[in-house]
């Protein structure tokens, strides 16, 4: 077991995709970084998703800009990383079941196109060329060539290896217990493995960031939005792109607490097809919900009839770190001097991790920010954050 150092320039709490990306970026900038996690790297939501890097599900606005920047950084890292992580620039296809849905989809795509996303309208008759096994009664679709996929656990490892090569330390089995302060400013983090004095503390604990923030004296609103995924038997390539139904974007933006489901189907390099997705506010309930699985299966079979006879060999669930305004929390604020937040990415953590890390790096190093980070500020009007320490 690695011991925690006595001090570091930055401690990153959370060795998931966002924490690992922050660690890599900060270490590359020459800072002494220590990443801590109460469990193993990627043990949280990073191993419960699908590894999506999407622009297709984002409406024009700050999150889409973040996604475009992040995508460029991911492409670069995929080429330079010593550790491969199944990066696939496969593209995504959103399909509409009705003329009405298609109209809405076209409108959304036009707006995205204007904001810099590559889009391509696909008529109903052309769908089979792109996806031979897709249902033949759909109204049409839009293809997004820029959507990509990675294997998220390997991606986390690749980022951490990069960080370690630049001098970072990774300490697992290390819980945050509290913080040390100089005045109001956090100057150290108290952990189950000792105190680490820091110049900056980055909280990238995903769905658990609210708990960690509280220990650092900040009340932050990040709630778990649960999702289920089904995994099929290994198959030869049959689904060429990510394919999902047009209701997906509405679900992402929804504040509905009850069970929502819209279909996402994608193949993987290793063979199984992943079927998603569901969204609901169910706390941290880890009991697999058959009802969610049934909905996922139903909607997946509707899109790809051949799936009816394909076996599901496994299911899993994870907790997306959600915020009330559906934007991530990236940055620091007066209520938390010395603390930077890199969390609240809901289901887009993998895709947005690199740009998040780039913003954090710029802020902590005092460099020019690659893009406007104010929409993600912890103390923005649409979010509640306050100090709770005495």
């Amino acid at each position: 077991m690695t011991n925690a150092p006595r001090g570091a320039d930055v401690v990153v709490v959370g060795a998931g995709i966002v924490g690992a990306a922050c660690a890599a970026a900060l270490a590359r900038s020459g800072l002494h970084v220590c990443v801590i996690d109460r469990a193993d790297p990627a043990a949280g939501s990073s191993s419960s998703g699908e590894g999506n890097l999407l622009v297709s599900d984002k409406l024009p606005g700050p999150e889409l800009e973040l996604a475009l920047h992040s995508l460029a950084l991911w492409r670069e890292f995929a080429q330079t990383s010593e550790t491969p992580f199944e990066f696939e620039g496969k593209g995504g296809m959103v399909v509409a079941a009705s003329a009405g849905e298609l109209t809405v989809l076209h409108d959304v795509a036009a707006g995205q196109h204007h904001a810099g996303v590559r889009t391509q309208r696909i008529a109903a008759a052309e769908l089979p060329e792109l996806e031979p096994y897709l249902a033949r009664d759909l109204a049409g679709g839009v293809f997004y060539p820029d959507d990509c996929q990675v294997q998220p656990m390997r991606a986390v490892r690749a980022l951490l290896r990069s960080a370690v090569r630049d001098g970072a330390q990774v300490v697992t089995g290390c819980d945050v217990v509290g913080v040390r302060r100089g005045g109001d400013r956090v100057t150290g983090v108290r952990t189950s493995r000792g105190v680490i004095m820091v110049s900056a503390l980055v909280i990238a604990a995903g769905a658990f960031s609210a708990d960690v923030a509280r220990l650092a004296g900040v009340e932050l609103e990040v709630v778990p939005r649960r999702g289920h995924v089904l995994v099929t038997e290994p198959l030869p390539p049959m689904v060429r792109h990510k394919v999902y139904e047009a209701g997906y974007v509405a679900d992402v933006e929804s504040d509905e607490a009850g069970l929502l489901s819209s279909s996402v189907v994608e193949g993987t390099q290793s063979g199984p097809i992943l079927l998603g997705s569901t969204r609901e506010l169910a706390g941290f309930d880890r009991h697999f919900d058959v009802r969610a699985a049934a909905l996922i299966a139903q909607r997946a079979v509707r899109l790809f009839p051949f799936l009816a006879d394909v076996r599901i060999i496994r299911g899993y669930l994870g907790f997306r770190p959600a915020t009330s305004d559906h934007l991530p929390i990236i940055g620091t604020c007066p209520a938390a001097p010395g603390v930077w937040f890199a969390t609240g990415h809901e289901g887009a953590g993998v895709g947005l991790a690199m740009a998040t890390a780039d913003l954090i790096r710029a802020q902590i190093c005092g460099a020019a920010s690659p893009l406007d980070a104010t929409p993600f500020a912890p103390d923005r009007a649409t979010l509640t954050v306050r100090a709770v320490h005495g």
């Binding site: 995994v231 058959v290 079979v301 006879d309 076996r311 599901i312």
Partner: protein
């Protein structure tokens, strides 16, 4: 509940005993079993039409009991405790239904513990259980020149059955040394049943001239597209120069004991504990075979591997307790069953110690040795990430996919955990297991989709 029902999962010795016990207390029982016919592994009956071998009494009693409904070829995919009892997601004839019962007894048994070695994925290398199933159910011999190897009492009935069926068993290769077995199994001399059985198997093997090698293990299997021969080496002198002997064989039945099938218990959320001598998880139960969850009881191998007599005793107690949890009257003294359980547990723990897993079995692994058969993950790939600091089984799984294939880690799980522990120099408890995730058996997406339609629930057995 006006019509209390106990569901029993698994129709091996534990499940059969549990079903009878609950039914005798006046409760209806639904006995769910995935096989074509009840009996589990040890009481496996012939599948051949017209082969009417002697059916054990317990099978006849269960078949005849008016309150027991046997559902064969029925799998339990998932289970969840609910306000009304236990919801079981049950699969039969490629259809899913929800079955809600007041209490459940989990008795799904175990799978065989595999310890990989170079060439173990050659056709012709199989488990002793496979040889037994092929013989008992299908009247097929595993091979004509068969090596039976590994460790544990199970090798003996399999070797004896093969001999009786006309196969040439060219060797029984037991990893434990004879002094170890003799010394540690000594206390079993008071278990008349065990002594008689051992003597019977030994006599069969002796009459057939089967050499029994102690302190030896199959260290490699060789052949082109199928097994041609095995190489046997010593286990009792790990430091000395290897002395290997090659034995021509067309079948090698290699087994190292059993691993409890705890997938359903895990998805229910039952508390587990770690088996003391092997490194796998077992379901924790109290003296009445109750798990940590009200309405859920467990019996047989999943509470600790211990054989048929122990399973039957536990089953009787579990079934009775389950019935009482639904309001059935009668006491829980069950003196005979508790005494039988005590004795059987003692025998099981003696046998566990007498037949340990060879400590350095992982030293035999080569870089190309397949560890995960389903995903063909090699030892070299696993060792590389372990050496790089990935030191829990689940994290290793996330990197190299061992345990992510069809069998979801049932075959390779224990071996991968132990091999990681040895490589990383960490206790197996810290390495942890590969983790189980729903579903307990593969399910067609179409079957799940049908569940989303309304009126798919069936609450009455």
């Amino acid at each position: 509940m006006t019509d209390p029902v106990v569901a029993v999962v698994g129709a091996g010795p534990a499940g059969l005993a549990a079903s009878l016990a609950a039914a005798e207390r006046g409760v209806r029982v639904v006995l769910l079993d995935s096989a074509a016919a009840p009996g589990g592994q040890i009481l496996r009956q012939s599948a051949i039409a017209g082969h009417s071998a002697h059916r054990p009494a317990i099978l006849r009693r269960v078949a005849a009991h008016p309150r027991i409904t046997l559902r064969s070829r029925t799998e339990v995919v998932h289970a969840r405790v609910s306000a009304s009892g236990v919801d079981l997601l049950v699969r039969a004839e490629e259809q899913l239904r929800t079955l809600t019962v007041g209490a459940v007894v989990l008795a799904p048994g175990a799978s065989e513990l595999a310890l990989p070695f170079p060439g173990w994925d050659l056709p012709g290398v199989l488990t002793p259980g496979a040889a037994q199933a092929m013989l008992k159910a299908h009247a097929v011999r595993a091979g004509s020149r068969v090596v039976v190897a590994g460790t544990g009492p199970f090798l003996w009935p399999v070797a004896a059955a093969l001999v009786t069926a006309g196969a040439q068993v060219v060797a029984l290769v037991e990893a434990a040394s004879f002094p170890t077995v003799a010394r540690r199994a000594g206390p079993l001399v008071t278990h008349g049943h065990v002594v008689a059985q051992t003597a019977r198997y030994a006599a069969i093997l002796a009459r057939a001239g089967v050499p029994v090698l102690f302190g030896r293990a199959v260290v490699r299997a060789e052949g082109g597209d199928r097994l041609g021969r095995v190489v046997v080496g010593r286990t009792d002198q790990p430091g000395s120069a290897p002395q290997h002997a090659a034995i021509e064989a067309d079948a090698a039945c290699v087994g190292w004991g059993f691993v409890p099938s705890i997938e359903l218990a895990r998805s229910l959320g039952c508390a587990e504990r770690s088996d003391l001598t092997r490194s796998y998880a077992v379901v924790h139960v109290d003296e009445d075979q109750a798990t940590s969850l009200a309405s859920v009881f467990a019996a047989g191998e999943i509470t600790g591997v211990g054989g048929a007599a122990l399973a039957a005793a536990e089953g009787e107690i579990a079934g009775t307790a389950a019935a009482r949890s639904l309001g059935a009257s009668g006491g829980m003294a069950l003196r005979r069953a508790r005494r039988a359980r005590r004795r059987a547990r003692r025998a099981a723990s003696v046998l566990d110690r007498a037949f340990p897993l060879p400590a350095q079995w992982a030293d035999r692994l080569e870089s190309e040795t397949v560890m995960c058969r389903c995903e063909e993950v090699t030892w070299g790939e696993i060792a590389a990430v372990v050496d790089d600091g990935v030191v829990t089984a689940r994290a290793v799984k996330g990197q190299v996919r061992c345990g992510m294939g069809w069998c979801q880690g049932r075959i390779c799980g224990v071996a991968v955990q132990q091999a990681i522990a040895a490589r990383a120099g960490r206790p197996t408890a810290e390495v942890g297991d590969l983790g189980g995730r729903p579903f307990a058996v593969p399910v067609r997406a179409g079957e799940l989709a049908d569940l989303a339609e309304p009126a798919r629930d069936e609450t009455r057995a």
